[in-house]
Symmetry: C2
Subunit: 585 residues, 2 copies
Amino acid sequence: MYELLKKINGHDDIVKLSIPELNQLAEEVREGLFNRLTKIGGHFGPNFGVVELTIALHYVFKSPIDKFVFDVSHQSYPHKMLTGRREGYINDECFKNDSGYTNPDESEHDIFNVGHTSTSISLATGLAKARDLLGEKENIIAIIGDGSLSGGEALEGLNVAGSEIKGNLIIIVNDNQQSISETHGGLYKSLKDLRDSNGESSNNIFKAFGLDYVYEANGNDIESLINLFNKVKDIDHPIVVHLTTIKGKGYRLAEINKEEWHWCGPFDRETGEPLYSYDGEDYTTIAKNFILNRAKEDKSVVVITPNMPGSFDLSIDDRVGLGDQFVDVGIAEEQAVAMASGVAKRGCHPIVLTNTTFMQRTYDQVSHDVCINNNNATFLLNYNHFNGLRDVTHLGIFGLSIFSNIPNLVVLAPTTKEELVSMLDYALTQNRHPIMILMPGGEVASRKISIPACEFEKYEINECGSEVAIIALGDFYPRGEKLSQELKNKLGITPTLINPRNATTLDKEVLNSLCDNHKLVITLEDGVLEGGFGPKVATFFSDKNIKVKNYGLEKKFYDRYDPNELIKSLKMDTASIVEYVKENI
Amino acid sequence: MYELLKKINGHDDIVKLSIPELNQLAEEVREGLFNRLTKIGGHFGPNFGVVELTIALHYVFKSPIDKFVFDVSHQSYPHKMLTGRREGYINDECFKNDSGYTNPDESEHDIFNVGHTSTSISLATGLAKARDLLGEKENIIAIIGDGSLSGGEALEGLNVAGSEIKGNLIIIVNDNQQSISETHGGLYKSLKDLRDSNGESSNNIFKAFGLDYVYEANGNDIESLINLFNKVKDIDHPIVVHLTTIKGKGYRLAEINKEEWHWCGPFDRETGEPLYSYDGEDYTTIAKNFILNRAKEDKSVVVITPNMPGSFDLSIDDRVGLGDQFVDVGIAEEQAVAMASGVAKRGCHPIVLTNTTFMQRTYDQVSHDVCINNNNATFLLNYNHFNGLRDVTHLGIFGLSIFSNIPNLVVLAPTTKEELVSMLDYALTQNRHPIMILMPGGEVASRKISIPACEFEKYEINECGSEVAIIALGDFYPRGEKLSQELKNKLGITPTLINPRNATTLDKEVLNSLCDNHKLVITLEDGVLEGGFGPKVATFFSDKNIKVKNYGLEKKFYDRYDPNELIKSLKMDTASIVEYVKENI
């Protein structure tokens, strides 16, 4: 097993192999993928689809002199296996060595640490520009999937590549006729025309951006790819190389059900069944069910998503059921937000569904297109919590620091399923302002609602005490409850416990009332502190006779951390906070 | 004068006019434009170019039932004049009534308050989507210039319009062969092919996005436009209407020098000469001269701008002089930032030039493409100051709240010309981290440098005192100096005066040292407080025995305000702060 793969550390080894050996290598790479993915999961379809492509790239081009820029880089596993990192796939003990995305800290063969889509062409134009200024000659190769092409940054990149770059730039469009969910957008008709005409159609989006163009239908055939790449190697101008590949190639289930197999958890190779499943109640299902029911009752509700229906478990049936009330704009977050502003302005109730990490692409649209106009768009964001997505490129912990400082936007942080539902209900009924709702992470909590969602500025005081007040935001509210209990148990202090419910407007009445009989206010939040919730409270009290201790994450790009260790290292665990109170009160 | 214009309040009045009368109306509209622009300035070329277009639109379509969405909306003056707001142009006393951009608070004929480019198509898709769900039938018309098409949001919008919108949507591409500066990008070859072939070229960027298409060469001829619009009115699917117009049409100087006449200050109509000019030293010229000289000495320096060379007074000669070291990516901020990351990674020194208000489009690219990778891109941002651009869509006061919370990014806030130059020098020499430099506003200050720019984390203590410490960031440092003086004069307090120099890393040594003999720390910053600098200081001291008073703007979308009045209303003027200190110390 892995007979050939074990000898491969890059171009110089690959170029020695015959075509049959290269095909054998492809099989071994797929075995390595199976080994990792069946056991710890990861991106399935993108990697299985590019095995031949990656081998041919490394055969023809000489990395790291020639530079590969993988878009999203969730398809970079084969690249890693061929550049000295096979152990992360074939040796179970080494799985952790590999980040799942290109990572310059791992290897000089990885140029950028990336995990968001649609960046590769723009990044590559920068490499090409600098190479030309330095008078050097290597090939710069961007590898981008058809799904990523709908993103504004990729389209800006095509436009600039089509006129402002004079030297070599090879843009490989890996057309597997799929995005995360299905592709959406008019440009995909152009891609289909090109596939149907073997690249001859005059309807050519790439030529329309001023780019040279070649087409290859056999994107999973190593020999065809080598011949093709040899033709474009060392080319003296930008060119698009359009390839057709099969997403999930080599695993029948994945070839058939491309969306489900975009990403996988650990699974049984024979049956495709996941090894683990979760049967309990979860916030995602609660939110999804509410939205689907509401959309049935109210035809003015429009669900808009930038290709992230999966983040809210919206199945194909769910989407079909929503009919015209569902719009997947493809990977195009800016469009999703601006469109929501238009939908709201024209009297409907849009709700945009995506993950916080991708939403950060839309600061300008949220501020300028939506909030200046105070249109009643709703944004429901998943994976805000520090113990959710933990790759450095996918952190949701910056949401508050980005969005809680935009005027007019109401950021709601539900702490229970009842609050989540009532806030969704309010958001999709009102037309007073834009609303962002941060999906809680962790176990589903339940508590009776004491303040209606429409009075979102009001803090909920759940325990009245003295000396210490705890203001615990969103899904850190249970930590506040626990802290409250421990302060009673360990220090005999009965603190005041507050659920602020929103992250954008201080309840000054409640805060002022604390000054009378409290010495210390503790804030707890699930995210980076700077720019977030706690500092707003600290500023409010900063010239008053009451101390404030903000707890939140440091301003850092954390990567693949242990959440509990992180909390302890920041002395945010309950025991450490109790210790702090003991010493400071 | 204004004989016809005075009778026009919208479609019902315009539709009664004959073609000769409509042409007469166009002349009167241009006279109105001259009246306003010669006296108070504004966007010149965009408005002069669309006079006929706007008249024809209002002739054929029935606003506000039919809905116009103007991209950027700096070309909306004629629209305003034809919808009841002529007084803002023909009556000098009413100039202030008109915001210079579409504004729903002014008129039901304005659908969105916008001032950033490339938003109209996406916003219009939202209007169209909601209209269809509500079962109504009006025309939705987006009007976008060729220059705005290079922006990612516009391209995302074209893609979605090309497949996801089933009903009426009319996208008018006002092709005047110019952006703010010249256009950049491969798509402009496609537009040229279309113009050269009277719309017949098979190289058609709009069809490549799946859109229907018509072309009209006579975009400044009312009759041709009326005929054309009558053909597409009530069309049952999205269509691009591509028109050729002349930017600045009707004023010879503006037709010749399109870039210079994109925007104008008050000027003499006969000569075109500006009525006012500023001969003193200014920060923009200092920065520009430094960059041009450095680029001559160091061929690894690359100036990248998303079509904003004018913001730094980079003339056409300057740009030609920079040669391959200058890249204008067109209006494509995301591309500019990602490209800079690539340029830095490949060993050169990129500097991105634009205004803070447009930079907000790149939060994700700054964070993900640049800062996670810690590449040494430099961003030099103009118009951060509260008394710079004061239209609600162009505020620079959110810069700190957006960018100072991104890990790895160093945000520098020079207080003098010496600091500006030394920080630029450092930024373009180092390769340790990404650096953002906030151009100071106001009068140029001068002071000897005591700490080298490379030690950016260190605060500069310029006066050692007690009781009160003033930490005054960036171009609010002179306010700190003035406050210090007044505290001495009025209260006999000698405060400590600190120039923090950077907005992203606290100098904990200096801050801790204040605890010994200070009771109050005052922070001053030129921007919105929430998410900004002061709250970081407040958080640092929040559980220590020292009070903090943060001064900064409130989290609000201010619009066309008087800067001095604003400062007074927030009690941030020196007298009010002295009063605060008197009462609280």
